[in-house]
Subunit: 286 residues, 2 copies
């Protein structure tokens, strides 16, 4: 049973709407708030060799990325830190603060606890003052499938390519790009931190559509084994880039560099070069 | 080193303002948001015999209590759940939902993860549309010291008095009382989940004042050993009642039953019946 299957336990209690997006949504008279929470811990989320400063940075970055994926502006982060060793705290907090500062976000404290395994839960609030959040459920047949940045770097870094170590440990959430995609008319969006393939499946399920992508269109880092890089991009995870969907006529309005990798279809298959794409990615397993 | 001492590591990075209250504060044109996050886990927070449903309830209740302590109305909870056993999830989520529902709060999902020890981080958002949050720093010499409810029940329940087991496992945060105290003119407030004594010290430190309370004024449950009950109230924790401070002339405006237990002083000692009160309570120790 993986975490996507466990969501099926929560849905009947909370309502399906609660489990469908990168963030939850709160409507207020002066704007729409989006909130996201992420639990990270030593064994499954922080690669060996990562510094405490980078652990702090990453804990904040994953949550800012969820907020970016709604097209929102992040405004506040709180961290609950379960410490296995109190001496780690100062550097973790400095890294968290640096990531908040880089994105103009207030780091507003949180909770401290002792824990056998370092565990950090980052919760963030974002706001949209000028429109609606972009959800996972709006992709329409004919929409272009787009991604920001180059993919696969995090996993290449994890498996020894030192050029990408920093990409793995200090991800740069795409806040500016998320907002630009929303304003240009993106119909659906999420981040691909669990890998491109599983993310395409997630959007397809929420939007009741299919996808057709082209392997050679996936933007990969240069000077790497392209087959390895493509595997990492599709199934690896750790790239905090955005995947979004936009009608073709609006694509030209995008003020940011993005890559078209395919098109949404009415037929509900997820295809790459005409063949069904494997449904796998980074999943927590029990 | 305890968690109050660890806050001293965070203060220089985040700014002192960040670590001073039950909640962080965000100002928006349509109101003031308050946010709180709490990490709970099996060993230190959930007594043996507590059901999974009660674990879910309590995880939400502690955060709603922090929001109540600012005089705010809770609106949304997200939970990050690190599961040691997937079979617990359904009942935990049902308990969490029940607590949200009892307080008119939206349970908006969150994050799921596998963990060697059950770990739940609850993050809540509250709003104040008609005034300012009540902080820890506003108590003034002469203010009355007040508490809601009867104290000591949680610890009496933990140590075998079955009448109070439900008080321990299903705390009822004082949202209505917190709002009423704010509207009546409370100058400072917090919940006493770490015990009354340490909470008096916390408010005194933030407000730069002293306190004088009377042992016999502390409201305790009837038909119990009053000495044991008083010890539990002062130093035990687990009672999700509110401690607040209010000028004497405004006390009569309170529309809720509360108990006066003493008065704020200019001299910075914390006294009970003229003797310095021990500075101890429920603290996480490393």
């Amino acid at each position: 049973m993986d975490d996507r299957a466990l969501l099926d336990v929560i849905r009947p209690v909370c309502g399906a709407d609660t489990c469908s997006d990168d963030c939850a949504i709160i409507r207020l008279p002066c704007g729409t708030l989006v909130t996201s929470t992420d639990m990270l811990h030593m064994q499954s989320d922080f690669p060996e060799g990562m510094t405490n400063w980078q652990i702090g940075w990453m804990s904040v970055a994953v949550t800012i990325s969820d907020i970016a994926a709604m097209g929102a502006e992040p405004i506040q982060i709180v961290l609950a830190i379960g410490l296995d060793d109190q001496n780690r705290l100062s550097e973790i907090v400095k890294g968290a603060y640096a990531c908040c500062d880089a994105y103009g976000v207030t780091y507003a404290g949180g909770d401290l606890d002792a824990h056998s395994e370092l565990t950090i839960v980052s919760t963030g609030i974002g706001i949209i003052r000028d429109g609606e959040p972009v959800r996972r459920r709006g992709a329409m047949p004919g929409d272009l499938i787009c991604v920001t940045g180059t993919l696969g770097r995090a996993i290449l870094g994890l498996f020894g390519d030192h050029r990408f170590w920093k990409d793995l440990c200090e991800p740069q959430p795409r806040v500016r790009e998320g907002r630009a995609a929303r304003l240009a008319g993106a119909t659906a969006m999420m981040d691909i931190s669990d890998g491109l393939a599983i993310s395409l499946y997630d959007i397809a399920a929420e939007s009741h559509v299919g996808m057709e992508i082209s392997a050679e269109c996936i933007p990969l880092p240069k000077d790497t084994d392209q087959n390895k890089a493509r595997e990492a991009a599709l199934y690896g995870g750790g790239d905090f880039e955005l995947l979004f969907f936009i009608p073709e006529e609006k694509f030209k309005d995008l003020p940011i560099p993005v890559t078209r990798i395919g098109r949404v279809t009415a037929q509900q298959d997820i295809l790459m070069d005409g063949t069904v794409l494997q449904k796998k990615g980074y999943l927590h397993h029990w």
